[in-house]
């Protein structure tokens, strides 16, 4: 919001000197201090901060792990055990990194479903949303390659299954596959490539995150009503209001994170990955990490290999088209009684697909997977576009302020939140 970007005035002589040469202080000030935040946003809006924390945590622990890890087919497993046993607090760093990946996805799924529920992808936030889908894709690639690095049984066979599906792509599939493998099967060159790319992608994520935050700060944050900021009574400054709320939510999230790290550190993993990779022994069930399970179910639901690959990629790509598939003018699902039901059905459908992804592809699991996959696409391609025409939304509040006061029973006009922000607290 450009009208708020010029409130920063450097006080010191050095500050003035620096500001005239590189106005980074005013950029930070306008983005994280004076930045207007809708006063009614709830705790679902803290997941941006939580995700930033998780990205930093993953990069930091990853850098330390890379100091001890050896990306070689005959040494990788051993080097991970060396970290777990002999490196001071190596077990802590590795459990933080391994569970951190899962917590990162927990946070991103809540963040994505929050965006879907409150219509945060609708104009003028389409680019912001698409950048988010790109980050999500990069996260999946990073997580997949990271899981291969310990070179356990599930690492090896997961890599084999996933790289094999790429071969189904017509014309270029084989080339992509042998480029990834660095040979004719998953082996040492594959491990080296994956390690290199696993180290590269997080920094690409960080780059896209900068764009994501930039694209957020142009239209500003959405809020539970979906009604844009109209007056100065609708918002509060980022600092201290959003800052403290984000900090509190991050601390609570860290409690959950710590629960996993210290008490059930292997809950998210597979026992098979504590068995060193063995190309001549196939595990009974090859299952990806939990955060891939819905897509794995979609992949296996289609009887044709190429069809399965297309469906899997399409199930992620369809998210990027959400701003145009949703024809409703109303952003927030709170005012869309019909869509609200379909939203929760979609959540249930995704959870069902996740559960099916962990099951062997046999018997009635296959049929249910096919129904759930079909519903997933019907939701986005049929229900969502039609609802905008059929549904009669509830009346929207005229402003954020009105919605806030309405909730509290219209008790008097509050002292303007930002009229004198310095005197707060």
């Amino acid at each position: 919001m450009s009208q708020h970007s010029s409130t920063y005035v450097p006080k010191s002589a050095f500050g003035k000197w620096f500001e005239s040469r590189l106005p980074i202080a005013s950029l930070i000030h306008s983005s994280f201090i004076a930045y207007p935040v809708p006063r009614n946003i709830n705790y679902f809006w803290t997941f941006g901060a939580i995700l930033s924390f998780m990205l930093a945590s993953q990069i930091l622990t990853g850098v330390f792990l890379a100091m001890y890890y050896t990306p070689h087919a005959s040494l990788a497993f051993q080097s991970v055990e060396h970290i777990m046993r002999d490196v001071n607090f190596g077990w802590l760093i590795r459990y933080m990194h391994a569970n951190g990946a899962s917590m990162f996805f927990v946070a991103v799924y809540i963040h994505i479903f929050r965006g879907i529920y409150y219509g945060s992808y609708k104009a003028p936030r389409e680019i912001l949303w698409i950048l988010g889908v790109i980050i999500y894709g990069l996260m999946m690639a990073t997580a997949f390659m990271g899981y291969v690095l310990p070179w356990g049984q599930m690492s090896f066979w997961g890599a084999t299954v996933i790289t094999n599906i790429l071969a189904a792509i017509p014309v270029i599939g084989d080339t992509i596959q042998s480029l990834l493998w660095g040979g004719y099967s998953v082996g040492n060159p594959t491990l080296n490539r994956f390690f290199s790319i696993h180290y590269l992608l997080p920094f690409m994520i960080a780059g896209v995150v900068v764009l994501h935050v930039w694209a957020l700060h142009v239209p500003g944050q959405n809020n539970p009503t979906g009604v844009p900021i109209k007056s100065d009574k609708d918002w509060v400054p980022f600092t201290p209001f959003a800052t403290i709320k984000d900090l509190f939510a991050t601390a609570v999230f860290m409690l959950v994170f710590a629960w996993f790290i210290f008490y059930i550190p292997n809950y998210m993993g597979h026992a098979d990955n504590y068995v060193p990779a063995n190309p001549s022994v196939t595990p009974a069930h090859i299952v990806p990490e939990w955060y891939f399970l819905p897509f794995y179910a979609i992949l296996r639901a289609i009887p044709d290999k190429l069809g399965g690959v297309i469906a899997m990629f399409a199930s992620i790509a369809v998210l990027a088209f959400l701003p145009w598939l949703d024809t409703s003018k109303v952003r927030s699902t709170s005012y869309r009684p019909l869509y609200k039901q379909f939203f929760w059905i979609l959540v249930a459908d995704t959870l069902l697909l996740g559960w099916l992804g962990a099951k062997p592809p046999e018997g009635w699991y296959v049929i249910v997977s096919q129904i759930a996959t079909a519903y997933y696409f019907i939701h986005f391609l049929v229900i969502l576009p039609l609802l905008g025409f059929i549904e009669r939304p509830l009346p929207l509040p005229n402003s954020i302020l009105e919605s806030v006061l309405g909730q509290k029973g219209g008790a008097g006009l509050p002292s303007g939140a930002n009229a004198e922000p310095q005197s707060k607290g």
Binding site: R39, N40, N42, F44, E81, R85, L92, Y95, S102, V106, Y109, I110, F113, V236, F241, I244, K245, L247, F248, A249, A251, V252, M254, L255, V256, A258, W259, I261, F262, Y263, I264, P265, N266, Y267, M268, H270, A271, D272, Y274, V275, A284, H285, V287, E289, W290, V347, L351, G354, W355, G357, A358, K359, P360, V404, K408, P414, S415, A417, K424, G425
Partner: protein
């Protein structure tokens, strides 16, 4: 709102059901000293388990990731440095090449890892009917059984993480006569808990096989039975799989306390800051 967030998180997390085929019977849940938030290894049990490993398992199974010195480190079986030095010296370790370029054997040192019973995997397989006995260093973490819905969701909150040890004990206790009509292939052994019910390993333990240290009354404080041996050796292997478990849970409690206080302080700060803003 936070409650709903956590519920959703819990539901999403719940999807990480381990999917391991298990045609064997579900192992019974045992009491372990190292389970739960304040769990720690029982030194006496680890020492007994080590004795079982040494006298029984080690003739076929390696323990590649464990060094003698580990036996004296905190949170382990609690052997003294001198005991470990004496123990290591009982083993012959191959070293070299020396200045003449020859490999030679010398007495083990605390820094050495446990020597494997076979020089390589092929030798191990050849001596054991075609299948090499697996390394035991990580066994209780490398095996599990499927918990199924809804138990895998409850396990997050109860911290139940002992499916591996329970399974290992169940297999060691699972040797029985094959039921009528079940044909056990040559070189196989019937086991109620092993997937498929046929295991290559012959029944390794029998009652009274390993002599446990005597208490003041001249008797072992625990029974010298297959079930007790199985529990003890599994506890020992859980320690070899997760040697820093004690420290992990101890530090974990401190971290949880710190984060609880921090969250509390941040919550009241947040409340105060937002107090005059209707939201």
């Amino acid at each position: 709102m936070m409650k709903r967030t956590l519920l959703i998180a819990a539901a999403v997390l719940g999807l990480s059901a381990p999917a391991i085929a298990s045609e064997g019977s579900t192992p019974p849940q045992l009491k372990w000293s190292f389970s739960g938030p304040f769990g720690k290894f029982d030194e006496a049990q680890l020492q007994r388990g080590f004795k079982v490993y040494r006298e029984v398992c080690s003739s076929c199974h390696s323990l590649n990731y464990v060094a003698f010195r580990n036996l004296a480190q905190p949170g382990g079986p609690g052997f003294s440095e001198a005991q470990v030095r004496a123990l290591a010296a009982e083993y012959k370790v191959q070293d070299g090449p020396n200045e003449a370029g020859d490999m030679f054997e010398r007495a083990g040192r605390p820094a050495d890892h446990f020597p494997a019973p076979f020089p390589n995997e092929n030798a191990a397989a050849a001596a054991n009917g075609g299948k090499a006995p697996p390394d035991l260093s990580l066994m209780p973490k490398a095996r599990t059984y499927e918990r199924g819905f809804p138990w895998f969701i409850f396990d997050i909150f109860t911290q139940f993480a002992e499916t591996g040890p329970d399974y290992v004990v169940a297999v060691l206790n699972g040797y029985h006569e094959a039921p009528a009509g079940f044909s056990v292939p040559a070189g196989g052994h019937y086991n109620t808990s092993f997937p498929g019910n046929v295991i290559a390993m012959p029944k390794p333990l029998s009652d009274g096989q390993v002599e446990y240290p005597k208490g003041p009354d001249g008797k072992s404080p625990v029974p010298e039975t297959v079930d007790q041996y199985a529990r003890d050796v599994t506890a020992f292997l859980m320690w070899t799989a997760e040697p820093h478990l004690d420290a992990r849970k101890r530090i974990g409690f401190q971290v949880m306390l710190f984060l609880l206080v921090l969250s509390g302080l941040l919550y009241f700060t947040k409340k105060k800051i937002w107090a005059r803003v209707e939201h």
